[in-house]
Assembly symmetry: C2
Homo-oligomer: 104 residues x 2
DNA sequence: TTTCATGTTTGTCGAACATCGAACATGGGT
DNA sequence: ACCCATGTTCGATGTTCGACAAACATGAAA
């Protein structure tokens, strides 16, 4: 597996980021990564086929939201820290609001 | 013209709001309303046909982002203040980041 | 009532999207 | 070399989106 390309963070548009986050599967995916840790793609427990998951990863990567790193036969993803430089506070806010109510 | 329906703010989903904002025309539209004032639909200077504009208004209304009020033959729109209750800080953050660089 | 202004609704189009399964590519183990 | 695990890419399918023009609805003005 070749290392995937990541766009220069300056070229990422706000509407592109919003569109990437405007999907339940992708938002759940990003929320899982919110602790800053890395995950292999297979670790996500989402109700989609692996090809679909791969697609969503690509959308998030191209929106500058996460980075992929290939290691052996696995692919680790992390939130892309530069997104905070480009759109300060955006992801934090969205993730805070996307978080489960956490009451009771 | 009948008064348009607005969804109960509790029923609005975050992904729906994000999707509504993830379009350049709609984002520009919302940014114009950011001063809190009302505008009639015709006041917006956007490069789309009026039917298209009407469609975008509908999307924003159904996402709980703005309210429409019909007055005579005109239709006034405003940002919907309850959105702030539902998703605190979201619109502020997005609009701050969408704002023109304002340099020079 | 006829006309005009302002929006909305409807129908249509092509583009983009979400999803899947199948096929493929790659690397690690045995 | 062979097999398995892990992802990616491809092709197909159905849905949604954004755009427009045309038709409609409504209210105000003449």
């Amino acid at each position: 597996m070749r290392q995937p390309d990541h766009p220069a963070i300056d070229t990422v548009q706000l509407t592109e980021v919003l569109a990437a986050l405007a999907d339940p599967v992708r938002l759940a995916l990003v929320a899982t990564l919110a602790d800053g840790g890395a995950r292999s793609c297979g670790e996500f427990d989402l109700p989609v086929a692996k090809s679909t998951l791969s697609h969503h990863m690509k959308v998030l990567r191209e929106a500058g939201i996460l980075t992929s790193r290939v290691e052996g036969t696995r692919c680790f993803v992390t939130l892309r820290s530069e997104l905070e430089d480009r759109f300060p506070g955006l992801l934090d806010r969205v993730l805070a609001l996307a978080a489960p109510p956490a009451e009771g």
